[in-house]
Each structure stands twice: as structure tokens, then as C-alpha cells.
Symmetry: C2
Subunit: 354 residues, 2 copies
Amino acid sequence: MARRRQAVTIKHVAADAGVSLQTVSRVINNEANVSPEMKLRVQASIDKLGYVPSIAAQRMSGSRSYLILAINDRDRTIADWRARLGADWVDQMLLGGMLKCAEHGYRLVFELVDTHSDHVERALLGAIAALQPDGIILTPPHSDNPQIVRFLGGQNIPFVRIGSKQNGVGISLSMDDEGAARAACRHLFDLGHRRIGFIAGSSEYELSQWRIDGWKAAMSEFGVSCEGLLEQGDFSYDSGEMAARRLLQRAERPSAIIASNDQMALATLEVAREQGLKVPKDLSLISFDNTPIVRFTQPPLTAIDQPIAETASLAVELIIAAKKGESASSPLSTIRAPLVERCSVCAPADRFGG
Amino acid sequence: MARRRQAVTIKHVAADAGVSLQTVSRVINNEANVSPEMKLRVQASIDKLGYVPSIAAQRMSGSRSYLILAINDRDRTIADWRARLGADWVDQMLLGGMLKCAEHGYRLVFELVDTHSDHVERALLGAIAALQPDGIILTPPHSDNPQIVRFLGGQNIPFVRIGSKQNGVGISLSMDDEGAARAACRHLFDLGHRRIGFIAGSSEYELSQWRIDGWKAAMSEFGVSCEGLLEQGDFSYDSGEMAARRLLQRAERPSAIIASNDQMALATLEVAREQGLKVPKDLSLISFDNTPIVRFTQPPLTAIDQPIAETASLAVELIIAAKKGESASSPLSTIRAPLVERCSVCAPADRFGG
DNA sequence: ATGAAAGCGCTAACAT
DNA sequence: ATGTTAGCGCTTTCAT
């Protein structure tokens, strides 16, 4: 393949408009100190020649690469893809992140990093050195990985930690998991449920605890005991199955269950079916995440939506702002996670759900 | 944000190893004319310092950017993401494409382009000029868009056209849609079906015709008439619903239906339910694509798998090979699309499926 | 087999 | 408000 040069460079534009390179550069970057007429003249040449700046050259000279790195967990992502179960998280990140990037002339580069490897830093360094991104988006469970966070803290690159509430290095950004769990619990309570079970997610993810906290807070607010109503899962279908079994074979079985993700809710649905319990008549069910699948179960599940696209979009905005503002102040934003009502919830058969 | 320089550059390595920049460059690029000892010495310095080449600098001087652009249809992709139905196509492309890229030190950059816009060329030029990718992967319906293909043909960048069989500019790569349709039809025939209906996809996609061709070829081979058994859809759920209705309200209704994608199969399933037809007892159903959703319908659908990951992986390989070989010969590869058996197919109630 | 010099396209720093 | 100069990190070309 022959040495492929840029077809139209800033030089061509400068020559065409009869100005210096610097002036063209100023117009491209929307900088001050360009007279309106000059700006128009240069822009006309740019349009005429179809000039587009080379990000490689921009990166070489200036400090911007117009690349934002979205880092996801390698094993989990690949496993989801392989299983061909869909990877809603990825899709929604791309939706929110890519579109926002495009608005600002940036590009989102999706990268997989193996968390559990000893070489996390190596992997990160590789991506950073190769791409020189203007910002990095971390997703759970990376967001609170001390090794990763510490390393990035020393790199002088703005980074957003999605799903983290730990203030400190980087910009923390999380969805309102606790509030959402609380709202789900209240929804059930208002319908008359009292024994509301909860299946927790993997403790590797901080948000698991927030979801538990929300449920506990709500229960305590209602003056209802949590005794025997909390079971540990790890987000996998199997763990959900076991947790649901434990919950449903109790003498005083719950009249409603909140599962910390969709897979565990699916498992709960299956266990209920096995035990001859109709959902929602005999058991109400609310899941977290609202991935595509919950619309196609029987019955379709009421679920708490995880607003990933919105979050990714905000992450990009915060990075670009940090880049501009020359400083990355940490607003610790929280994004609301709404409850999507479908058909897996109703009032308990015997009021006060015993 | 302060001007952020590369932490470790080729200069540091050269100094550390006590050699010239050129020698380091040769080692990085695995070029000839480096003595084994020298190579080892340089590699040791690279490892010690944790040096990773900057792709921006590599692109600036040489002809490689180590970036491969995967171009997808903007409207459709965003619509799928928005609907939160999952976007299996995207996930599978990333799976196959990213992993293969990573093997070769490349990165896949996912890009959305609006086909229907008058400014397709502008959009493409923008991406090409900005990124200077080493190759481009086109997906349907872009793969056969004459405007796009013509434009890329003049860009001196290897590009793969997934889902295209038209030889000519670029490298064509397609899944065996015709063979798969034929196999699906044979599967039904062998079980005793004779009246096998077919719901076609949007004619904007060439593969729609291939799928029809496969079905027609099989029917003709069996000596069965296609009369009244073909209905046009456009891949949307609604179009599938209408097509299924037309098919199923015929006096001599089909005992089996092949739908050109999963959404239309879902619609067919729903129409059957409405009309009191049990699947598979009263109606056998096979869909195309095998997206995540077909495992969760009642019953789970037998489907033809679209091996997108495998195809994307091969696309990347072909691009890298073309780049290396300094020429892009067009092998016109075809990838097998296997039938995944689930529960939506059985022998017809009355043998010879009238 | 190794090295030196030139230059890729752009922007920061410094003129004017 | 505009222009000039130097250099980013690397590879290409051309020495040796």
C-alpha cells in the first residue's frame, strides 16, 4: 500500500484562502483573534476543498486527540457476547457515548481490559500510550478498582468513574441505585406487600450494596422487619435460582421479591413456576436493569431501568468540560433510575402479604 | 490541561539501549536487518521502560494508523439501541472485529453513517480524513450502495463489503444466505411439510433476495409450487405481522413458515397465537438471524444463525492481509450459516402439510 | 547491519 | 488580528 498522504491539508486551505497556517488552525479550533471576514473566507476554502483535520497531526502537536476511551470488563463483556444473550450495557454505552462524542467532534473508542489480570496497569498504559485519549470512561467493576484508579490518577487524563460514589481522584458518576431500590420497595408496599424479599448482587460491584441499602431503608421506614428476606446472589442466573429457592421455601415466604438484576429475576420467575406460584398473583417480582429480555418473559417484568445511555452521555460531557476547563472538578452527579411498570407486580393475594 | 507529552518515546528507548532511533523502529515493526542480539537488547529496553508506540506518530510518518473503521447504518442502529431491543449485530461485530484487531495490534473504531443522506461521501470523507484508517468494513445496506462503493474505490484504502456478492471494487464477504434458506426449507420438507411459506425481507438488502432464492430453489427441487406462499416484508415487526396474516388466512394455509428475520418471526408467532394456531403443532416456524430474543419466546424458535462475529473477524483479517500484501485481491468468501434447532418446528399434523 | 537527516500535518509560543 | 518558527514521535529515504 503506497504511502497514503492526507489528500487535503491545512496547507492547501491556507494557500487557497491566501492566509497563514495559523489562521486556518484558529478557524478550525474556533479560537479568538480571527476577524469575522477572515473566518468566513477560510471556512469557505475549507468547505470548498472538503478539508478535515487529521486527528493524528492534531494529537502530535496539540494536546487533544479527540479520542475518548471507554473501558469495559473484558471477561464479562466477551462472555455476554459469546453467549449471544445480548450486551445491553455495551449497546447503551455506545448509544449515549458515541452520539455525544460525535456532537463535539470526538470519537469513542471501546476498549476491553482484564480486571483480574496482574497486568491491568500494563493494559491501561498500552491503550493510553497508543491512543493518547483525551479522557477515559471507567465502568463497573473497574470504577472502584484501587489499582486502576490510582494508576489513572497519575496520568493527567480526565477520567469518569461510572457507578462509583467514592469521591477522590477522577469524576464519580452514578445512577441512583439506592433511590431506585427504595422506590421499588415503596411501590410494592403501597400495593399491600409486607414481606418483600431481596436478592443481592455481587459484592464486587459497589452498586450491589446501594441497592441493598435502598431496600433496607425503605423496609425500616415502613416499620417492617428484613429478617429472613435478604439473600445473596452474584448477578448470575444460577445464583439467582438458589437465592430464590431459599427465599421461597421459607415458612413465611415473601409475597414479593426484588432481584438485583434481570438474570436473577429470570431465575426467580423460573423457580416460582416450578413451585406452582403464579407471577404476579402469588408472587410479585421487580428486577433491576431493564435489559431487552425482560419485555419478553411471561409475564413481562416490571423493572428498574438503568439509564446507561444517559450516564455515558454525561460522562462524555464531563470529560470534554474537564478538558476545556483545564480542571476536573468532581460534581459527583447522580442519575435517576426510573421504575418501568409491566406485568409482574400486583397486590398480594392475602392483604399484607404474609 | 497541560500539554501532555508521551511519557516514554522511541528516544528514551534508543538512549537506554544505546542505539539509534531507527534500530528501535525496526525492532518495533519487526523489520529485517536487525541482528538477534540487537533485537534482544532493544526489546529489553522497551519492556523495561514500558514503551508503547504512539499511533498518532506512526500514522504521521508511516502509512499505518492501526485503525480499522467499521461503518454501520446510523438510523437503524440508533433506532435499535433506542428501542432497547438489543443490537445483536453490533455486539457480534465488536466481538469478532475487536478481538481480531487486538490480536494484530489494531483497533476497531465503530462509526455510524447515514446512508440516506445526500452527504454520504462527506461523512465518509470526514471519517477517513480524520482517522486515516488502514481499512474499512462496510455492512449492509452500505455494502452495495453504489455511491459509497464508488467513493471508497477511489480512496486507496482496503475495504470489505459484508453481505455483498457483487465482485468488483473492494473485498466481498457474505454469509451463505441462500444455502441456509435452502437448508431450512429442506429441514421442513424432510419432516413432511409441503406448503412452506416464506416472508421476505427488505429489498434494500441484497441478502433478502438470496434468502428468497434459496427457498425457491429448494421448493423447486422438491417439485412443490411456491404459488401463494411468498409474502413481502421489510424486516420490521409490523411488516411481518401483515405478511403472516396474509399467509395464514389463505384457504390453503401453509403448515410452516420461514421468516427472513427474527422480528418478523416474532410477529408470525403472535399472529398464529391470535388465530388459535399452536406453534409448532399447527404451524412450524423458522427464523433468520438467531438474535438473543428467539431463545426467550414461547416456544423458543428454531433459527438460522447469522455468524456475524466470524464474518467480522474474517473481514479484519482480509484487511490486514491486503495491507500487508500491498494488494487487495478479492477472494469473495462465503461463511456458513448453521441452523439452530429449538422448539418451533415439528412434523405437520396432517402429513404432507396441507 | 546500523545510523543520520528530512519531513508527515498540525499547534504552541512567540513575534509583529 | 495575523504571521513565523520550532517541534511533537515516528518512519522513510538515503547514507555508511
